[in-house]
């Protein structure tokens, strides 16, 4: 009995111990739940949301772009997109395989989608963004088979004028990784469509609009269960519409008359504002190909084209300015050396100028005879300008040309414009050729726009705008905006108005007097003033230049044109007739009254060249 009593007593103690353990354990568990549900509630609530909510971007429609007359240059048209929610590669691949027949997806397309998915595995991956309603409906009918699929509306970029505006408007594409890293695209997420070139790029902020976001609720297997109404959701705000200074009809006209198969470019500015009326580069490409991702084959065709269609020959290519440069010399000589429009040089042209032990040739082997400045501009006499350069002297020439801004870009409002090149000082030559590796004779080449100088087409057009009006160059720009209008005083010619007018009259003689280098292609109704150029270059026949403006007294258009290797002999230029027709076409369309008695059509003497030049208007 005592033993039994002892067992009973110890059993009470054991029961107390067990009860105490029970209490302690329940308290520990309660504390653990308190920690999760009270202290950690916020972060777990967030995790729970992240777990089941997937953000789906709603792309904003990009703003439309119009030309100066309201013609459409770029627009956003409604389209349907199809994306896949984040999923393991094999189920994504399986879904793509099943989608292929409905979306006419090829294996290359599937590869591209998988590549995009690899780059951003957490975001929905875009499969196609150019689907028709019928294709989308076909997929929607088979919803249970395609539980990873998200269908959305997706504004699609379209450039109705196609290749005609390629170098102006640029194109759009998916944002690249380097762009994502840059400060400019801080608020952009991967997969966004951004402007890559041209106006699309430079006015990205205005055009892009603000993408919206919606949320869908998904289950553990990633299938969409329902739309999730969230206060975080935002609808997309479309981008702003823009109007350009461009004249689309003129752009298209240029496209129709630019010599087939030739390379080159044309730029036209309104000399009163700086607005770019025309900016063409040939060969060109169709910017529509880039929308929604360019195919490998299309990209290879553009990349491997020896004509380099991507190159903007109007603003991103350097050419020797040739004889169009002579007006720069004339300006400096008039300003610094009291040379007048009727000043003669000591040596008249006999086809070449002897300097040191070398003969520097004129383009006309038989020589021009004695010429004053006006006549030398009219007939583009090299011998006269060699001597003019020598009279100015190397150092004043270098500083004068740099003072006119020929080492800089015009400031055109699209990306990719490059600066002109001109030696800045003697030290430049020392570095380039060594202290004894060059002589003062470099002046002679610099005087006729050859040698160590190269300029862009638009830079030359800008310079001629200062000859055309007031003596200060305009700043070229594509967006129609008064803010951008204005002149660059620091690059002013520095000539009295009377002197400038004398230079203009010399430029009028070039086009409008027999013996002038552009005489055969003069417009019938308006006085075109300008200068031809024949730029020697290592790539073959000389490039054919023309830079000018019209009407000479009250210029409404400044034009610069170049046709690469477009001057096979010294008599026929392909750039001049091109520029002449464009100018006539523009002035007619603007309703500018003729400023001269209209001539009968002229028949140029011998023309072995193409491009509708017969019957110059």
């Amino acid at each position: 009995m005592r033993g039994g009593e002892a067992v009973r007593l110890s059993r009470v103690r054991r029961a107390r111990a067990a009860a105490a353990l029970l209490v302690v354990v329940i308290l520990v568990l309660a504390a653990a739940f308190f920690r999760l549900q009270v202290l950690g509630a916020g972060s777990y609530e967030l995790q729970s949301r992240n777990n089941r909510l997937r953000p789906i971007p709603i792309p904003a429609a990009r703003g439309a772009v119009y030309d100066r007359h309201g013609e459409l240059v770029a627009e956003s048209i409604p389209g349907y997109s199809l994306s896949l929610l984040p999923a393991p590669p094999d189920s994504a691949l399986a879904t793509l395989g099943r989608l292929a027949p409905y979306l006419s997806l090829e294996s290359a397309g599937i590869e591209a989608v998988l590549e995009r998915r690899r780059r951003n595995p957490q975001l929905p991956v875009l499969v196609r963004d150019d689907l028709s309603f019928e294709q989308v409906a076909a997929v929607e009918e088979r919803r249970p088979e395609f539980r990873l699929v998200v269908i959305g509306t997706h504004p699609r970029r379209r450039y109705p004028p196609g290749s005609v505006v390629a170098h102006v408007i640029g194109y759009v594409g998916e944002i690249s990784e380097s762009e994502l890293d840059s400060d400019e695209f801080v608020e952009y997420e991967a997969g966004r469509i951004v402007g890559k070139q041209g106006v699309e790029r430079s006015y990205e902020n205005e055009l892009a609009g603000v993408a919206g976001t919606r949320y869908v609720e998904v289950n553990a297997r990633g299938s969409i269960v329902r739309e999730f109404p969230s206060d975080l959701a935002r609808s997309a705000r479309p981008g702003r519409d823009l109007t350009l200074t461009l004249d689309l009809a003129l752009q298209q006209f240029t496209d129709s008359i630019f010599p087939e198969g030739d390379r080159g470019g044309v730029v036209a500015l309104d000399p009163r504002t700086g607005g770019v009326l025309l900016l063409s580069s040939y060969p060109s490409f169709d910017p529509n190909l880039f929308v929604g991702g360019i195919t490998e084959a299309d990209w290879a065709a553009i990349r491997d084209d020896p004509g380099r269609p991507i190159l903007n020959r109007a603003a991103a290519a350097l050419y020797p300015a040739g004889s169009t440069w002579k007006l720069v010399l004339a300006t400096l000589a008039m300003r610094e050396n009291s040379v007048g429009i009727d000043t003669y040089m000591p040596t008249s042209c006999r086809g070449a100028l002897q300097f040191g032990n070398r003969a520097f040739r004129c383009w006309r082997p038989e020589g021009h005879g004695p010429l004053d400045l006006s006549g030398a501009i009219k007939e583009s006499c090299n011998v006269f300008f060699y001597q003019l350069g020598l009279r100015i002297g190397l150092d004043p020439l270098l500083s004068g040309v740099n003072g006119l801004g020929f080492n800089q870009a015009t400031g055109l409002d699209i990306p990719g414009e490059i600066s002109g090149r001109f030696p800045q000082s003697r030290e430049w030559y020392d570095q380039m050729f060594g202290r004894r590796g060059w002589t003062e004779s470099v002046v002679l080449n610099l005087s006729i726009g050859q040698g160590e100088t190269e300029q862009t087409l638009i830079r030359m057009a800008q310079f001629y705008s200062s000859l055309a009006t007031g003596g200060s160059p305009v700043v070229p720009h594509l967006l129609q905006s008064e803010v951008l209008e204005g002149v660059r005083e620091s690059w002013a010619l520095g000539l009295p108005e009377a002197r400038r007018k004398e230079l203009v009259s010399a430029l009028v003689r070039v086009v409008n007097e027999p013996g002038g280098t552009a005489y055969w292609y003069r417009p019938r109704e308006w006085t075109l003033a300008g200068k031809t150029g024949t730029a020697q270059n290592p790539h073959g026949e000389p490039h054919s230049w023309f830079v000018g403006f019209a009407p000479a007294d009250d210029p409404r258009i400044v034009i610069a044109a170049i046709v690469e290797n477009g001057h096979p002999d010294n008599r026929t230029s392909r750039a001049v007739p091109l520029a002449s027709q464009i100018v006539s076409r523009y002035l007619r369309s603007e309703g500018v009254p003729p400023d001269r008695p209209i001539e009968e059509p002229v028949q140029p003497p011998t023309l072995g060249i193409s491009g509708g030049v017969e019957g110059v208007q």
Binding site: G3, G4, V7, S10, R11, V12, R14, A15, A18, A19, L22, V23, V25, I26, V28, L29, A30, A32, F33, F34, L36, Q37, V38, G40, A41, S43, Y44, E45, Q47, S48, N51, R52, E217, V218, N219, A220, R221, S223, V225
Partner: protein
Amino acid sequence: MRRDRADVLTGLGDPVLLAGALLLAVLGIGMIWSAGQVDLPSGVTGAWRRQLVWLCVSIVAFALATRVPLRWLEWATPWIYAFSIILLLAVLVVGGGPNTRSWLRVAGFSFQPAELAKLATILLLARLLGLRKEPQTGLFDLWKPVLAVVVPFLLVMAQPDLGSALIFVVILVSALFWAGTPLFTIFMLVSPGVSLILGFSAAVWGVWFVIVMVGLYLRRPFMGEAVAVALSNLAAGALATPLWNRLAPYQQRRLLVFLDPDIDPRGAGWHLIQSKVAIGSGGVTGQGFGLGPQKRLAFLPEQHTDFIFSVVGEELGLIGVLVFLLLLAWFLRRVLRVAAESTQGFGSLIAFCFFAVWFAHLVINVGMTVGLMPVTGLPLPFISYGGSFLLTTFVGLGLVCRTAYET
């Protein structure tokens, strides 16, 4: 003798205990119904109805269990034990299940023989230990109860079902504890098991071994005992790594994930992370009964069985969690009181063993939903979906009530 209502209630032994159990089971069916409220309908949707049927069956079994005098049961114990061992052997040959061979299919019903084996082992231990007036103190005196547990333990490990095997250890330790075996003897008994667990790290195991040796020196058991304990600890430490390598990969992962759920967030760690997210997002008041998004969208795994308490946490919040915990604690305390007040050694041991087993289930199941315990797949008594577990729980409850009646 006329049997009036009072007699019927007295026949139940402890009617309040039964009422608590029924309340818990009904709440459990409610949670199972909620667990089935998901966006993609699955088999879970109808599980509450099946559980309701099982509850009815369980109540009948409970009533039968309360009618069996403990003496008869004591007599039948060896036969029940033998039968359960045969079933455990059978399940290894013809059993089925997702990862393990733990289910027997008989006439359309699935049954887990391990559940019956737990019951039978409790009965056998109660018979072996309850007959004695004086507790056994020597280590080697315990060979019978140890053998009674080791046989089903090894058979369950072979399935392999780590969680159930753990329960057999709990049964052994609790039965010895309640029978009055000195704590140091129990310590010597389980020390090789601890060595086995700590064997993954030589340093940690070394510390443990020193503790064991110091204990042996201070308490000075018989020489034979001391040598056996020291050698078996050495052997267990050495065998830990080879045994670990024999574990199924999913069991290894589950144990590792307990240490760091983030090592495998889409695999083994998934259960734990999703459970914590579900419970944490419930906050104080919960997302609302039936409305938990983690559960609805199938992020929460095993939401009607092992992780039913995560649904409680997500949908009913801290308040619901505390209500459930307090109810369960109150119930266990009441079972403990039956054991403590019983004058009958056999019945008292049975009641205490069931207290210990249900307590262990509670700690491991609820602890695993918040990451305090490894994911071992033990159900929560009365709440989790599962027919054979509910049935054995109510049979056990019947025996507890019979013990209360015979007190």
